[in-house]
Symmetry: C2
Subunit: 239 residues, 2 copies
């Protein structure tokens, strides 16, 4: 099951058999969790990190007034809170958006990796930096793109990320988010998120029904989003 994580890594870098063993051994246990659970609360002290093997997670931040912003989505293969290894507490919550399978990686094993497997440490460092790049792209979306272009951009991003771990069909993917959750990702209200989806439908770019996103016109969607996947660092890297 952890192979989805290895797939994500191997998409971008070589992983030796020994490194693979180290990664596999870093997992202390595996947990199953239902949808809409809070896994980590902002500020909580941490001594392990969570590797998502199946399902969808969100990192989100709240305003005192209750408005919520999702700052990153996570899919199978992603670490949800690898940054918690160095930070020891998070500045955001981590919640499940669907039923999930999680691997628990204790921080002392990560520390050992930094002591004994510097290349692997650099790889994991790299992946927290890719997460940051995704958040930067979100800032660009929230600050400068229109609602429709933002939503198209998110759909494109998720397509590339899911495809990289073999979780996309050629014409779309399973997207278990409600319209409210999509709105929280994009800094919109539910009402306007709905209007925006209608508009994407009307333009024959996507269909979204019973948790299935169908991309009818990938070229058109990417054009509308002005989507350039280079910020996902999906090409070969060499850390």
């Amino acid at each position: 099951m952890i192979s989805v994580h290895l797939k994500k890594l191997r998409r971008r870098i070589e992983i030796s058999p020994e490194e693979e063993r180290t990664i596999r051994d870093s997992v202390a246990e595996t947990r199953k969790v239902g949808a809409d659970q809070i896994l980590i609360r902002s500020g909580e002290e941490l001594n392990s990190s969570l590797l998502l093997l199946e399902g969808w997670l969100a990192r989100s931040k709240d305003l005192p007034s209750g408005e919520r912003q999702v700052t990153e989505l996570h899919v199978a293969g992603d670490f949800a809170d690898l940054h918690g290894f160095t930070l020891k507490r998070l500045d955001h919550d981590v919640t499940t958006l669907s039923p999930c399978v999680l691997a628990v990686v204790p921080h002392d094993r990560l520390k050992e990796i930094t002591e004994r497997h510097p290349r692997l440490a650099r790889i994991y460092w790299l992946f927290t930096n890719v997460d940051a790049a995704i958040t930067r792209e979100l800032s660009l979306s929230l600050g400068q793109r229109s609602a429709i272009s933002r939503m198209a951009h998110l759909f494109c991003e998720l397509y590339f990320r899911l495809d990289a771990v073999g979780r996309a069909r050629s014409d779309g993917y399973e997207l278990p988010l409600t319209q409210r959750e999509l709105a929280e990702c994009l800094g919109l209200t539910v009402v306007h998120a709905n209007r925006t989806i209608q508009e994407l439908r009307r333009r024959n770019l996507v269909e979204l029904e019973s948790r299935q996103l169908t991309i009818l016109d990938r070229r058109g969607l990417q054009g509308l989003a002005e989507f350039d996947p280079s910020y996902l660092y999906l090409d070969r890297l060499n850390p």
Copy 2:
């Protein structure tokens, strides 16, 4: 001059004399640059990282249409592109907002640090994670806060960050950004950035004149911003 960087680190963690030596030795050269220079272009291949010793930098991303979003500001003591060590190219530009002094840290010396000084490597990893936390908070601002609250939030954040490296007065700090640049940080137009500053003035919260920001009512400003500095991880950490 690199002491401002050590000050930033020591604000949060212990640095041994040997670690200090390693950090000092990691600098290959020091460069002075004028304002409004592009230091790094998105996509460019990198083999060193830039440590900012004096002045202000911005990381920014552009849309094809020319709209620009500043995704993070950097002040003395910050690494501008430490994430470039693992990523080897950036997904954003790095530009000077004022005359700057920069230390150049070759990636092979950073690699050596990951091989020989794992604790220092964890510390630097930590700091790229703090950068990411700042970008997350920006996403929250851009997605959910009003223009005035966003601007108040930025002014508070910069106060805390500058204070942490001894670059703030008790009642404000030097802020060399034009209103256009502030607007680009906050996802606003220049016109509305100006309106927003006028409103902050009218409420007697801040004064901003000839590059000097004076905070007239810190309590009030933080209240308006709903500012909670915990995302800056300014307290003691233990990597």
